[in-house]
């Protein structure tokens, strides 16, 4: 376990709503190896972004509570503010969906890429700026030297996302978190950015934790997948297994619902109902009210994640035993 780049054990994040604590992420455990891409996939409200925000400690301290253990590079994180300040942008970095709001509009992009080097490595400004140009070249920004002196509004969406990636990679982090990094981009630009992320992950040997709602993006670059529903991982395994032999009825339904550009759909399949609100979670299996296979037991008891075949687990009473 200690050779994992990132190891999360029993992570539970709760929010205080109307006088009660409600867990948005429940008992989440996973490992991420170096040079591996793990995709966390789920719909809105599944808790995928909260998971990453909890690991990075980016949630407001009032009204939220984080429990569990996070290990980075074999060291347990205490979650102490100074420690996190040292680690963020250095050993762990993050890129977001909307690069325009994540970049500072009044600073030159070169300076923004150089900043983590000055902050974490104590590099003098001139040296850091030269390094920033090299990083911008690496992420495929043409005429990087002159563009480093420009401002975010002078860049297109795809180019801004490249700047974000350059900034995140400046200190060669062990783990890169990418929260919907291509959702705001056009498909031809999305393909460029996904290709770039994959190349860089491999080159630098980092762990890439990709948060996405798109099964198409997952199929294109993930090695392993964790499917989240209503705050918990309901299925996890190697990418080919998840797509070819999904175990959990939610994964199966999700895969059947995806409109595909490569084949005609005889009829449109949809999962009935919607994800329950945080303060209105059903007891038992949280997917049971929408599940075609649900039994009496599913409505009363919550199944735990059980290994079905090598490295492929699911939390389902019907399909995976789910003895807790």
């Amino acid at each position: 376990m200690s050779d994992a780049a990132l190891s999360v054990k029993n992570l539970t994040t709760s929010f205080y709503i109307n006088g009660e604590w409600h867990p948005a992420v429940r008992n989440l455990s996973f490992d991420l190896a170096r040079d591996e891409t793990l995709a966390i996939v789920g719909e809105s409200g599944s808790g995928k972004s909260v998971t990453v925000m909890s690991i990075m400690r980016l949630l407001a301290e009032t009204g939220s509570r984080i429990e569990g253990e996070v290990m980075l590079d074999g060291n347990v994180l205490t979650g102490d503010a100074d420690e996190m300040q040292r680690l963020r942008g250095d050993r762990m970095a993050m890129i977001f969906q909307e690069p325009m709001t994540a970049l500072n509009p009044v600073l030159q992009v070169g300076f923004q890429v150089a900043e983590p080097l000055m902050q974490h490595r104590g590099m003098p400004k001139a040296e850091a700026m030269a390094e920033a140009v090299r990083l911008l070249e690496q992420v495929g920004i043409p005429s990087a030297k002159s563009r480093a002196l420009e401002y975010p509004h002078q860049f297109s969406g795809g180019m801004r996302q490249r700047v974000m990636i350059a900034m995140a990679l400046a200190c060669e982090p062990t783990v890169l978190f990418a929260d919907e990094p291509t959702t705001a981009l056009d498909v031809t630009i999305q393909a460029q950015v996904l290709g770039l992320l994959e190349d860089l992950r491999h080159q630098k040997g980092m762990g890439l934790l990709l948060i996405t709602h798109s099964m198409g993006v997952v199929a294109a670059i993930a090695d392993r997948v964790a499917v989240m529903y209503a705050g918990a991982i309901v299925e996890t395994g190697p990418v080919d297994k998840i797509f070819a032999q999904p175990i959990h009825p939610y994964t199966e339904g999700l895969l059947k619902s995806i409109p595909r550009p490569d084949r005609d759909a005889s009829e449109i399949y949809s999962i009935p109902g919607s994800v329950p609100a945080l303060d209105k979670m059903p007891k038992g299996c949280r997917f049971a009210p929408r599940c075609p296979l649900s039994t009496e037991r599913c409505l009363n008891d919550d199944p735990s994640l059980e290994m079905v075949t090598d490295g492929h687990s699911a939390a389902c009473w019907v399909r995976a035993g789910g003895a807790s």
Binding site: G195, S257, I258, P259, D264, I268, S274
Partner: protein, 342 residues
């Protein structure tokens, strides 16, 4: 029988860019677009941001005045109409937007939002109005009691159902749906698509379905037009266009669209470069700056739209019989990716 015919539609926007008033710039949003939508059919318009697909949708509804070209709804040229005649025709075409939260008035109950068009256009009066509203809500899968509630009480998927119900209040022949399911989660998206397909079949309403998502278009539409920088580069039946693309741009778009199947994983297609600005589109074929097969001819001359087989059109010199000699060498390379009918 076509319900909508668009011929050579042009819409340019004039604006200024830069400090102190700036210099005048013309954005050629739509630059000569033609297509038709059959009655009761779903016709897709796909393309990336800035290709002009939304402008086409708005011009069709005369929400913006087109500069040139003809838009005919069921044989009536919209440009000829007096304002009063235009108002009388409006109920026959309606629109659904991407974000149902900003298109619904937060201070208005759902019942009020749905009954307003019914009253204004005199489709019903008195108690019959609320009765019609309740029937419509049930038709889109919502409880009749939703009429007394406000938009914020509904989820995104439910709000989009409300927007659909509102578009149906006047029993239109054509609905322009601009990215109508793009903001929804996959499982909700499938529910809404299913609903729209049922409505299309039951009511015989036609859809001009604008989307960037090739999967959604393939699921919902029968035919489509692919746009790039203000022009239609290819059109035809959805399945054949995606499986046997004629235009290099369609091929790139299709190759870049993620397929939910890891066994089909290949090196991600990387169409080089970015979409040029519609303020200064490249000369000749707009796509030549990113096209792997571009020749000197493509850089200088705009390709004309040809119909190599009935029902399919393409605007590319590679498919133009008059340019066979000029494009011969390039065609040999293109044959692995593109489909040729001759």
């Amino acid at each position: 029988m076509s319900i909508l015919t668009v011929t050579n539609l042009v819409k340019h926007f004039h604006t200024r860019v830069g400090a102190f008033g700036g210099k005048p710039v013309t954005i050629r949003a739509v630059d000569g677009v033609s297509f038709h939508v059959d009655a009761g059919e779903a016709f897709g318009v796909v393309g990336e941001s800035g290709c002009g697909k939304s402008t086409v949708g708005r011009a069709v509804l005369h929400l913006i005045e087109p500069d040139e070209g003809m838009i005919e709804l069921d044989g009536t040229d919209l440009a000829d109409l007096r304002p009063s005649e235009m108002r009388a025709l409006r109920p026959r075409m309606q629109m659904i937007f991407q974000d149902p939260y900003s298109s619904l008035n937060p201070k208005q109950t759902i019942g009020a939002a749905l009954s307003e068009p019914i009253r204004v256009h005199g489709k019903a009066s008195g108690d019959a109005v609320m009765q019609k509203v309740k029937t419509l809500l049930e038709e889109v899968g919502l409880p009749a009691a939703a009429a007394d509630r406000y938009p914020h009480e509904f989820s995104g998927g439910q709000r989009q159902r409300i927007a659909i119900a509102r578009a149906l209040t006047l029993d239109p022949d054509l609905i322009v749906a601009d990215e109508a399911v793009s903001a929804l989660d996959v499982s909700i998206q499938a529910q809404v698509l299913k609903l729209m397909k049922e409505l299309m079949e039951r009511r015989g309403v036609a859809f001009l379905f604008i989307s960037h998502d090739l999967g959604v278009v393939r699921t919902f539409c029968k035919r489509l037009a692919v746009m790039y920088l203000g022009r239609v580069v290819e059109s035809g039946p959805v399945g054949t266009v995606f499986d046997k693309p004629l235009h290099p741009y369609t091929h790139s778009l299709r190759a870049a669209s993620p397929i939910p199947d890891p066994s089909a994983r290949k090196a991600l297609a990387r169409l080089s470069g970015e979409i040029p600005s519609a303020a200064s589109p490249p000369s000749g074929c707009h796509f030549h700056t990113r096209c792997p097969y571009a020749t000197e001819l493509c850089r200088t001359q705009t390709p004309k739209t040809v119909e190599p087989v009935s029902g399919r059109t393409v605007a590319c010199h590679l498919h133009d019989p008059d340019q066979t000699d000029a494009m011969l060498a390039t065609k040999q390379n293109a044959i692995q990716e593109l489909f040729f009918y001759d």
